[in-house]
């Protein structure tokens, strides 16, 4: 049930607004992204897990999983990337858990960070160091 591009253009009339938002979000720092996400609220710990490889063989494709039971929304950050925000995910009523697995790009070794907005409006965060390997061959 793949839409062709022509179909997609018709369906996607609202796409421009999203595009503008995405452009504006370019090159944010982790602090900026967190401040926007939390509105400056205090940050707690616990109740959120972030699973990522200790060493990533290739920074282009690093599998990560976030899980925060009871979260309304989770923000994933790579503070060492040119633009820190990786993704946010909001969980709706039909979600079976508050878990998301995806694959992300890491420009260098860094502490990947996840922040969860819990159902009661509080925030918790966790970080996981990921070393991105350096290839040896070539110029």
């Amino acid at each position: 049930m793949t839409y062709t591009r022509r179909d997609a253009l018709v369906v996607g009339a609202g796409g421009l607004a999203v595009l503008a938002m995405t452009r504006a979000a370019w090159a944010v720092t982790a602090d900026e992204a967190i401040a926007e996400f939390t509105g400056g609220a205090a940050m707690g710990e616990g109740g959120i897990t972030l699973t990522a490889p200790e060493i990533a063989e290739n920074g282009n494709v690093v599998p990560v999983e976030v899980d925060a039971a009871g979260a309304a929304e989770i923000l994933v950050l790579a503070p060492g990337n040119p633009s820190a925000t990786i993704c946010t995910v909001a969980f709706g009523p039909a979600a079976g858990s508050q878990r998301l697995s995806t694959r992300i790009r890491l420009a260098k070794s860094q502490d990947v960070t996840a922040v969860a907005k819990m159902a009661d409006g509080s925030f918790v965060s966790t970080s996981q160091p990921v070393k991105v390997t350096v290839g040896g061959c070539g110029g």
Binding site: Y3, V11, E65, C87, A90, G92, G96, T102
Partner: protein, 108 residues
């Protein structure tokens, strides 16, 4: 790369109230807007910027993506149903394209 092509792996049936995993993948270059071409000019961003999954009109997940998500975005999450129906998946491209897929699911 040719047109983005979504792939979805979801069970054909699920027990009411029991979470089940859904895996999605869409072929897409996720051009981050931070790479330069051979002449040193920035290659414009062109990414899947949003992904949603809904079940019978009720949201499962609503995800905003940046260029920090890898090419061919892989997204895995859990859904839960209380009736038979349709899981609808939607990917939004920076260029305005929208790609959709759907899976019917029965109560086990």
């Amino acid at each position: 790369m040719a047109d983005a092509k979504p792939r979805v792996k979801a069970p054909a049936s699920a027990a009411a109230g029991e979470p089940f995993a859904i895996k999605t993948l869409i072929s897409h270059e996720m051009e981050s807007g931070q790479r330069k071409d051979g002449d040193g000019n920035l290659i414009p961003q062109k990414i899947i910027n949003r992904f949603t999954c809904d079940f019978n009109g009720t949201n499962v997940v609503d995800m905003t993506l940046s260029g920090g998500v890898s090419a061919n975005p892989y997204i895995e999450f859990d859904a839960m149903i209380d009736q038979a129906g349709e899981l609808k998946f939607t990917w939004y491209d920076d260029d305005g394209s929208v790609y959709e897929d759907a899976k019917t699911i029965d109560l086990a």
